[in-house]
């Protein structure tokens, strides 16, 4: 007998860390206790994207969306909704601007404006069951490609779709595949590699796709391999993503068992298999030549790319390297046609893009939207605006290689060219929102610090240049900067951009240059001894004002005993002892601790 209802428990990394698995077990136990185990099925799905309100529970087919569901809520939920048919309002989501909770998932603005292509199975399937993927139309595109299309037709279809690399570069995928096919290989060996070394801080779309729908990546890879004539594929996944690694490995085994991977795929005589390599914590390994060196068992240092990896790549063979999200798009293009795909998006950026919304925004999480949506819609409609009703200051796109975009450019449509013109880039799709509590100089220094420690050290401009940038930015943050420093920063940036060996160094100046371009006044304030956002420690002082109720929390929180005061009396801070850790500021419930 088919199930009457399905309880879809989100089991992405975010929800799991919020105890989604305990929730699943509690639900199953409660259903069994009430004898409903045969009527209602509990399913664990991949990431729903709305990570800020986890654990998430979706009741299907009604589409009722529950958020922040705890184990203790289970008996009430089962009794009210599943037995009596009365959905539980207290567990529903109330959008920031709404007064009443919204019962259905599709009516929540966060989900309503999205368009799912790469994330088409989001929250609908159990990622550990190939049957679920097949039931949703999975592997049909593979069958179509292998049995009714020639490799050339597939490449033409991908070219016509306008699909561009989703890992950041934005290179047209079809052209990459075609170049690889035309590249000379003595023994005809070609390789296909999936880049899942998602390193941009603030970006987690690849992790989420692999965790939530690993077969979509495998299917895309097999189609790509058939198109370019590769028989061996590789996927390079960060070791920091244990759940993604586990689910991908399970998916590979299932695909082999079903004859969708390995020898004689679908009985067509085509052989292709995929090997998993774990990254060991080096951001630069997201760079194509560094990644391939790492797969060969050498350190991940990039080489100069006079000859591209599509011609001479892994083990010196022509190699196609695409990102996870790019591969996840491929089956949909084959199935629904290039025309359908090309109708979505802008003139030069087709299809959809997955973004991870993070930072000081109300709704954090993963969203997929058509290209060309404005940043304003992304942040204010889908993201729900700035957290704690703060004021928007800047949005950072493209990770450490991208730049800051200020408020007056918020209506910029999101596409590869437009972001580039603004001094930033699409990158892999990280969108980090900043408000008045973020200091632009500090964040610029943060990125430079990141790149300094991730630079592999092979070429001088990147190794030494970024270090010099860091020194100057630190000096400014410490209130010891001068006007001349700004000119020096700009000059250094242009040298680093022009002379670095790979894109890590080449794009490293972006955060510094855009922060100077759009937020010069903040740099000037630092030079004059003030950090407007109250972040840079050397330039701030903590004080306690008369809102203090003497609750004594800050007294207990202070690690250096710099807070003086008896309970129920107003407290004070001894500046000589204060290390500006901000512990008092964090614990105060009365806004009595101020930063100046």
């Amino acid at each position: 007998m088919p199930y009457r209802l399905h309880l879809m428990v989100c089991a992405g990394t975010g929800c799991v860390s919020n105890h989604a698995l305990e929730l699943r077990d509690a639900l199953s136990a409660e259903l069994a206790k009430r004898g409903l185990g045969k009527e209602i099925e509990v399913v664990t799905t991949g990431c729903n994207g709305f990570c800020g309100v986890g654990p998430i529970l979706l009741v299907q087919p009604d589409g009722i969306f529950y958020q922040k569901v705890q184990v203790k809520d289970v008996p009430l939920l089962v009794e009210e909704h599943l037995v009596k048919g009365r959905p539980v309002k207290s567990l529903m989501f109330t959008p920031p601007e709404a007064k009443e909770p919204v019962p259905k998932m599709r009516d929540i603005p966060f989900f309503g404006k999205q368009m799912l292509v790469a994330l088409r199975n989001r929250g609908m399937i159990d990622p550990e069951k190939i049957e679920d993927y097949i039931a949703r139309g999975g592997y049909q595109a593979l069958a179509k490609a292998l049995t009714t299309m020639t490799p050339k037709q597939i490449i033409e279809e991908i070219k016509a779709s306008g699909l561009r690399g989703r890992g950041g570069g934005g290179f047209p995928t079809g052209i990459k595949w075609e170049t690889c096919v035309h590249a000379h290989s003595d023994d005809g060996v070609r390789y296909l590699v999936c880049n899942a070394d998602e390193g941009d801080p603030g970006a987690f779309m690849d992790r989420s796709i692999i965790e939530g729908d690993p077969h979509s990546v495998i299917e895309g890879m097999v189609i790509g391999a058939y198109a370019i004539g590769a028989h061996q594929g590789y996927i390079y996944v960060r070791h920091e993503y244990p759940l993604a690694l586990r689910r991908f490995t399970i998916a590979l085994d299932q695909a082999r068992e079903y004859g969708l991977l390995g020898k004689d795929i679908l009985g067509t005589g085509f052989d292709f298999d995929i090997e998993v390599h774990r990254g060991a914590g080096a951001f630069v390994c997201g760079e194509s030549t560094a990644l391939m060196a790492s797969i060969e068992g050498r350190v991940g240092e990039p080489r100069a790319k006079y000859i591209h990896t599509v011609e001479v790549g892994l083990y010196n063979k022509p190699t196609v390297l695409n990102n996870v999200e790019t591969f996840a798009n491929v089956p949909v293009i084959i199935e629904r046609g290039a025309k359908w795909f090309a109708a979505i998006g802008t003139e030069h950026s087709k299809g959809t893009k997955v973004f991870s919304l993070a930072g000081r925004v109300k709704n954090t999480g993963l969203v997929e939207v058509p290209m060309g949506l404005s940043l304003r819609e992304l942040i204010f409609d889908i993201g729900g605006g700035i957290a704690d009703d703060g004021e928007f200051k800047a949005v950072q796109t493209g990770g450490p290689s991208g730049g800051f975009i200020p408020e007056d450019l918020l209506d910029l449509p999101v596409d590869y060219e437009k972001l580039y013109e603004a001094g930033s880039m699409m990158g892999s799709g990280g969108v980090v929102v900043m408000d008045e509590t973020s200091c632009m100089v500090d964040v610029a220094r943060f990125f430079v610090d990141f790149l300094q420690s991730e630079s592999c050290g092979k070429c001088t401009p990147c190794r030494e240049g970024i270090k010099a940038l860091h020194g100057i930015l630190s000096r400014i943050c410490d209130g010891k900067g001068s006007e001349a420093d700004l000119a020096m920063l700009e000059e250094l940036c242009s040298v680093i951009a022009d002379t670095s060996l790979c894109a890590l160094g080449g794009s490293a100046p972006n955060p510094v240059l855009t922060s100077i371009r759009y937020f010069r006044s903040e740099y000037e304030a630092h030079i004059q001894g003030k950090c407007p956002a109250g972040v840079c420690r050397a330039l701030i002082t903590f004080r306690i004002n008369d809102k203090c109720t003497g609750c004594h929390l800050c007294f207990k929180a202070c690690p250096t005993s710099a807070v003086l005061g008896e309970p129920k009396q107003m407290h004070t801070i001894i500046q000589e002892k204060c290390i500006k850790c901000g512990a008092c500021y964090d614990v105060c419930k009365f806004d009595a601790v101020t930063k100046e």
Binding site: R207, A280, A282, F283, V587
Partner: protein, 167 residues
Amino acid sequence: MAIKQVSEEKVREIVRRWGGREGFLVEMLQDVQTEYRYIPEAAIRTLSKEVGVPVGQIYHLATFFKRFSLKPRGEYVISVCTGTACHVKGAPRVLDACARELGISVGETTKDGTFTLEEVRCLGCCGLAAVVTVNDDIHGHVTTSKVPRLLKRYKGTEKASHGEADD
């Protein structure tokens, strides 16, 4: 917790697991790191002999990637995510709070070998910022004031129960 004696046979078993292929050197080192919580010199020599590559190449790998350490790491590795989203939500202060609480600097291990404190560049849980992981446990929405209680769960006790409430 005592440091495990390096067994040549164990390292050979790891090499066999990966078919002795040079392309899987990083994977073998991952397994060595998991087994011993560091990359012992003896293991580097065994790997070199078994896989047939120079000691220098393995040493280069072991010092290039962040995951590998030539010194033993603590039983619990505290990784404070310092990705962009976490940075904006106060990760530097959380990191300082952990350092103060444990009495060590970033990259160091406590004398009793219980804790190692590290920074990690984005764990991809940006919706939960600021994030701290203790081995495989992920703790979200961490603030400076939550740090002492968080660490206490692992301190001195038997294996802390996994996945307790975070906030």
